[in-house]
Subunit: 342 residues, 4 copies
């Protein structure tokens, strides 16, 4: 029951991560890889670490014959994605890794991304891809919108707590420490080794990061009232990994119970023993999420920390988990590889 | 008017940093270096990066003739320091870099460090070494207690804001990102390159870090009422640097004004233009502090971020700045070197 | 046909790497894990990155019932290994990852390791574990001695060239760049992040590295005369990876032909197009070896460069490849995972 | 006797390093900084680590009034430099940090840089800037050509050995490990943190690196016959530092004597005790060079290793040392700062 796969935009990090994960997936086979600027090149040239695989060369999207393809992953840049997907066959299953279909409301999209959406009808159709919370919808979906990697990390902490009503909704602070691959393979001065290693700083400060659109949409829906968290990411000198530290008002022991109850049946999410917190070292290269809860010395305040790999569970691993559901495969197929340490 | 200096405990990172800074100081000359376990060794062996300097070999403390020494830096481990300083000549000027004399109240000391203080009379005499806030006391002091490096970073943000009454005292969250040298040259598994690089995690979670004793002492005194901030440090894979992100309730523009007014005459502290935040890259290896303020999208909430080099301004640079005051030298002598970038 | 596995010495990096690789191996199941100092602890505590796996707790070697075990990996420290293996059941299949059985000659062992061998009869029995060159012997062996990771990297370059007689045997220089995990989880000052990151240096200089014993044994046997290469490793700030640069006298194009011919049927070894050289980035976390050849501007001189992951192909991956052979499994089972990049 | 300085091309790493070093130089004062693309910006914006300094804003070269300037450092890109310098006042002292005036022979220049030189008459005038070997010429020069950073490192090892006739001139191999800042602030994929950290590889393989032009010119002149060394650099994940490992034929003890004799009076160059080798950690951020010699186990072969900071002694520090000579200042003024460790 092997399913055939196309990856549109395979020359970036999330595209390469899809190829990496699919290379040991028992039921998926890649039949097309696209990359506009690098069309014609073999993947071994674009990503020599994939040299051992038998892969199609990169081609242009218009060269792909979608007739025989069961599902396409779309790992294109934001904005490009909506234009491309609009032209794809309407019966093709698609997992989009860009930001284009995460926000359901066209007004929200325009607010956070600065221009009107080019495919609002698809926007309505798209299912938000946070697997553990939209599983049934994803199974039935044609178009799934992968979440932001920061947005996923924060939601794994906060959704169960908001839903259970155990934290103060007006006092949610999310301080993120993010690895550099989240910024993609872009040629920017601040992503150079010489500028980034050996130091750290905040970015998108003051509530301007676009993933806040996702937080607002999801948390407000859950709470049945507007919820606006405070969120600032920090760039730290590591390639993979997001550590989300949530500072919340609530009883730590109760928070831990809620998270444990919510995730005890989830194979990808591990709630650590009370009082311990996770490290990104322990999830690197894997599809796992580690979550820890600890009480602050100030009564009624708690710290909840989550760690995941932004390229895997935060992006390409999530995409494959969703594709597995959409294709009727075992949900965790190809995703149980252990993290790489050290 | 060259002053003669002894460094007790010169085989650790703060000791080496003192030597590095003094090597280009116009008025200080090192005449004794001690290191119990490495006594007899030349510094060039213990720290080959100091090879170009003409330095005395490491010796044991009892071998030092304190008669001709104007000031001793004490860079010994916590608890050792109080035992050693108790036995030093009572007229010797001392800057202690350990935690032993930071807390004025013996009860506080016992609470945070787990045992009674061995030299409570010296504890009373010691002046807290946060230069910009205790300058006159330091100038007159015989014994100055260097602050914790995390404690210094947080206080540079919060002292002016608490004093000016512009933030909610019960809603102060300090999320720190700390470089590894703050843990010293200790042989611990979590400090190995293979365990620490390429990942990040919280430590001393939930309000257990000892520098909270300093925050409580200082902030409560300033506010005239108990102040208990929330504070969790995170270990990030870089060698030097602390980035402190304070999440506070208050008007961001007002906070910026207060900080600018407080620091405009300080040569070591730079308040960035409103809306921008600092990077540890820009202070590495230097005695400078960069502070930035930005308003959150949630009205009435602000983010204040400070960056400094834990080994320099957070420890050995601060110690020399204080020694300059105690010895009647220019306060910034030997401390105006630019950061190292990249 | 699942085979049951014990790992002796599972609290170090090579032990953990064995567990990582076996976790997705279709035919191996771990039934015992030992660690003397950490006996009684769950692996999730010793290596939290393995938390998602259902593993036996660490125990002491004497607690293991070897009756039901098909094969034991021995990832113990050098010298300990020979003492332990001597006492194991004589019909237990063993892959030893230490240096204890790599040298066939007791005199050579004593020369390089500084004391007589404690189990010379086993030394004679052991098969040298460089899979691609001892495949048939390994298939029939009871005790296989894993190679040194540096020794493996150098041999992948040099064995075919020596055998084919295409390089000057008295002019072989091997300059290695080694990641830090090769030194294990030892608490040594030079392995601390603060000492190792952001710099590089040579170690074991001047032909004193113990892996020279392996080079001498293997190359002299191949050549039928003594061969003594020059070899100096350098420690570089990365966790996994060895880059071996061999400077040889010979015709580069001919060397490339020889290597291509030798490895074209090998699934784990990839010879790059002539004129290109490999990066450790492209093999990290995998069992693959990349080899490149380039001619120097000086006629008759060539550069051959090989890259592998010291913990995987250089140690634990090799061990599993050998175990697969010894257990009658497919040789590459569990070993085809793609490298992790970035 | 303060001298006024212009820096042309101050928005790159070598330009910033010049500013850093001059900021604590007792006799130099910067009066003009140029940067074509960033003209009009304050340096604090281009390099926030220089924020504490009172510096002129960046301007265009044509805006500089060279009348009052004693010396200009030219830190422009290769090829641009010759075009700019050609138009500068003929009596202006210039230290050029580009590659444009390193090769004396126009034919050599064209061979290595692929096009004819635009200012051959200046090429003849320029003095090669390896301070310790061209000191008198530099003192009298108007135009000094800074050396390549790799070229400098190799020459510190090899010049005395070639001159003394103690090594085989046809058997010189130089294996370099280079930090990333040597490639400048260029936006290239292979310089991104995600691509460069945690791995290593060779580059400019097979004798194609342009610094070979300098080696050939200098070594052949010294030897009185053509000398063509083998040289391959490797990119290692660190920001500053070059480690040069020379594999040579010669008597190690004799080599050590020659190097010690040659450098014993040099304040910037330290020959380590015989049998020990240097680390780039110990020279980072400084103008010092450390050199070590060790004998190989193969009789008559030796290893000589040198470490320096490519941005400082390899480029901007060298430039200031030369400027000091040209301006009649103390040669080491502003250059005795200790390395930064850790």
């Amino acid at each position: 029951m092997t399913k055939t796969i196309a990856i549109l935009g395979a020359s970036g990090y999330t595209g390469a991560e899809l190829v990496r994960l699919i290379s040991t997936h028992p039921d998926l086979k890649i039949t097309a890889l696209t990359g506009e600027r690098k069309a014609g090149q073999p993947m071994a040239q674009v990503f020599p670490f994939l040299r051992h695989l038998d892969l199609p060369d990169l081609c242009r999207i218009e060269e792909v014959d979608f007739a025989g393809i069961d599902l396409a992953f779309c790992a294109l840049p934001h904005a490009t994605s909506q234009a491309v997907i609009k032209e794809l066959p309407r019966d093709l299953k698609i997992v989009d890794l860009s930001a284009d279909f995460r926000l359901r409301d066209p007004g929200d999209y325009e607010k956070w991304y600065g221009k009107p959406h080019a495919a609002p009808e698809l926007q309505r159709e798209a299912v938000y891809g946070l697997t553990e919370f939209y599983r049934d919808d994803i199974r039935a979906a044609r178009l799934v919108a992968g979440t932001g990697c920061n947005a996923a990390t924060g939601q794994y902490i906060l959704r169960p707590l908001i839903e259970a009503g155990v934290i103060d909704l007006d006092r949610i602070i999310l301080d993120l420490k993010c690895g550099v691959s989240g910024a993609g393979r872009a040629l920017k001065e601040n992503l150079l080794h010489a500028e980034l290693s050996e130091g750290t700083q905040a970015y998108a400060v003051g509530g301007t990061h676009r993933h806040l659109g996702e937080f607002d949409q999801e948390f407000s829906a859950l709470a049945g009232r507007p919820v606006h968290i405070q969120f600032t990411p920090h760039l730290v000198p590591l390639n993979r990994g997001i550590l989300a530290t949530a500072w919340v008002d609530g009883d730590a022991a109760r928070l831990h119970e809620v998270l444990q109850a919510r995730y005890c049946a989830e194979s990808m999410i591990c709630v650590l023993p009370f009082g311990t917190t996770p490290s990104t070292h322990d999830v690197r290269g894997s599809n796992f999420v580690h979550i820890g809860v600890v009480g602050d010395r100030v009564p009624g305040r708690a710290l909840v920390v989550a760690a995941l790999d932004n390229l895997c569970k935060g992006s390409s691993g999530q995409a494959i988990q969703n594709a597995n559901l959409m294709l009727g495969l075992e949900e965790t197929a190809g995703l149980m590889g252990a993290p790489l340490f050290p």
